[in-house]
Amino acid sequence: MNEETLPVIQGSVCPVPLKHHDTIVMGHGSGGRMTQELIQEIFQPHLASPQLLAGNDFAEMIPAPSHGNGRLAVSTDSHIVSPLVFPGGDIGRLSVCGTVNDVAMSGATPLYLTACFILEEGLSTSLLESIVISMSEAAKEAGVQIVAGDTKVVEKGKADGLFINTTGMGWIPEGVEISGAGAQPGDIVLISGTMGDHGIAVLSARGELGFETEIQSDVAPLNHLIRSVIDAAPHTHVLRDPTRGGLATTLNEIACQSNMCITIEESLIPVQPAVNAACEMLGFDPFYVANEGKVIVIVPEAEAEAALTAMHLNPYGKNAAVIGNVSATPVSRVLLKTKIGGTRIMDVLAGEMLPRIC
């Protein structure tokens, strides 16, 4: 063998593994280097907090840095939505707002969130990043920090793109007593805005309506609005967000928990004309369609005006309205006064809402 017959070595012959920058693969859930890269490239730049940057398997917080005596409120929620991005929001904004709102409904100031991601193999990383950015924006708007997180990857077909579980913690100041069981005879029922926007926006984005709508989801963090309501109406009895099952189902929960009758008037409940039209065509009732940025507020009559004014001053409450009142009997019932003057039961939704035939 002479120099001319020797092979020319041009570089390393061992193939370098592909980086998989564009899509999620199983390796992103291995706990190894790819997981680290995913955290460093996608999650940390947007969701950084001192606790996350500490790099531990736990987060350390002081429960109430400046709120004095009180109680800790905790709520957890798993978020699944198809499609992941819809008019007015995405699963990221939804996962932050949903849990922030659940914590805020206790009268608490939401402070911290944890976030667990179940990613489906094949999910686009740029889509994931845009969802993480929208979580970050929603968290900033709500004024909460994301302090702990986890990521798992499941095989293609085992999840619908991306599931996010968030757990929220908040501090209930001393003296605030809010519960679904708190409604009392003579109380006034208010709602912070139009009903059914989120449900119809998501249905529309799925392309299942057979017609186009311009309806945007109302998904929003309500903690600032709620804080101003409590400041204006310190004896607020009930706060609850009418999410799945809509206004009708949520009012029934409150009526049952409080052993009271809630009577509301159809003509007072705000519904966007486009939502009404979509519901008419599909055979849905907007009072059963989900909302993600609305709150039912029940206060003593003397504080109703103040609560309404406080809501009107917040952009998420500009369409707020008084919709009814609470009475002692018939217990655990929700009654609806119809526009033409009849009165009927407004029941909970039984199972899945189904479109009618003709």
Binding site: E208, G210, P273, N276, A277, E280, L282, G283, T329, P330, R333, L335, T338, K339, I340, G341, G342, T343, R344, I345, D347, A350, G351, E352, L354, P355, R356, I357, C358
Partner: protein, 366 residues
């Protein structure tokens, strides 16, 4: 919303109720045919603002409710097959068959999809050439033209993987069955506006004449319904039995002729079993033999079906206007929307469901 709010106007409603009040001198039993009308009556609380002399009884016009148990069971059998995508209107998914419903088939891995139109099912068939796509073609004359159209469209597209399971029913034979029954209490009819938009109302003259009952073609909004009641009461009080149209903004006497032609081209009249009522001669539509290739009952071997109906459910008597839902011992106890014994508790057009949702509480007026 324009074109709807006008028919939900509280002042107009009061005006018509006042006119009914001034007209009526004695009790009358009036049946609204269509389940959509029943729900509108209960949803708007019309039953509470009408004079006590008027008893509204609820007719058989709920397509989900009258679909025979045998056909529901056939649907379950077909939907369970691994190579089938079974498409249905949403209302049908919760209707109990002998051993379960379409939701339970879906939970076991069957491919059951909700569609808004049979033409969507044709699209699914086109997109899934390796699957058999079956559409559950239920309903009255209202749904029949679109269901027939889906067969014509599938044929034109040369699809060999599309078929329909037909449970079409016709309104006039059911009116004959109710009026001819020895237990009949119905003295006047609010005819179903949507059915009449397709079929017109020429078929009703014979019925009005034979049984001496007034028939008023009626819509679905509060003002429409009350107008229908007013016109029927005026006839009853005057001893008349004519066919009148209180829904002229939608319905003409001859109806939608192109739709009627499609029905004739694709379907033929047949005897049909109505759930809870029994066999009504010449009350159904089934596919003409030349469309056998699109007939799911021919394509799938589901002939031998053993059915088992709840022994307690009185849906049949309710669909004929003999009894009202609260008179059923199971109403609101063993039977509720989560655990329905009969289809009348399931459908958004079923009378039991309407009572359960809107008027379960006797003290509602208190």
């Amino acid at each position: 919303m324009r074109y709807l709010d006008e028919y939900r106007d509280a002042a107009l409603v009061k005006n018509i109720v006042d006119r009914i009040d001034r007209t009526i001198t004695q009790p009358w039993v009036i049946m609204e045919i269509c389940g959509g009308q029943t729900h509108s009556i209960m949803q708007n609380g019309l039953d509470q603002i009408l004079p006590a002399e008027i008893e509204l009884v609820h007719g058989p016009g709920c397509p989900v409710c009258v679909t025979s148990l045998e056909l529901v069971d056939k649907a379950l059998a077909i939907a369970s097959k691994p190579d089938v995508i079974f498409c249905s209107f949403g209302d049908m998914l919760r209707v109990p068959g002998s051993t379960g419903d379409l939701f339970s088939i879906r939970a076991k891995g069957g491919q059951v999809r909700v569609v808004y139109s049979p033409l969507d099912a044709v699209k699914i068939a086109k997109q899934n050439p390796d699957k058999q796509v079956v559409f559950f073609a239920i309903g009255f004359e209202t749904t029949a033209p679109a269901n027939a159209m889906s067969v014509l469209q599938a044929k034109a597209l040369g699809l060999t993987n599309y078929s329909i399971l037909v449970s079409q029913v016709k309104v006039p034979p059911a009116m004959h069955a109710i009026l001819g029954s020895p237990t009949n209490r119905v003295q006047g009819f609010l005819a179903a506006g949507h059915v009449c938009s397709v079929m017109g109302y020429w078929e009703y003259y014979e019925i009005a004449e034979k049984y001496k009952v007034p028939i008023t073609v009626t819509g679905f909004e509060p003002v429409d319904l009350l107008n229908g009641v007013l016109m029927t009461v005026q006839q009853l009080e005057a001893g008349k039995h004519e066919v009148q149209n209180a829904y002229s903004r939608v319905v003409s006497k001859e109806g939608n002729l192109p739709s009627q032609k499609i029905l004739k081209d694709v379907f033929q009249v047949c005897d049909r079993n109505w759930r809870g009522i029994g066999m009504i001669p010449q009350s159904g539509l089934c596919l003409q033999p030349e469309f056998d290739a699109f007939n799911a009952e021919v394509r799938f071997n589901v002939g031998e079906i053993q059915t088992r109906e709840s022994e307690i459910c009185i849906a049949g008597q309710i669909l004929q206007g003999i009894k009202k839902p609260p008179q059923c011992p199971a109403f609101g106890t063993f039977c509720n929307p989560e655990n329905p014994l009969g289809a009348t508790m399931v459908s958004s057009e079923g009378a039991c469901s309407a009572y359960y949702r809107y008027a379960r509480n006797e003290s509602v007026n208190a």
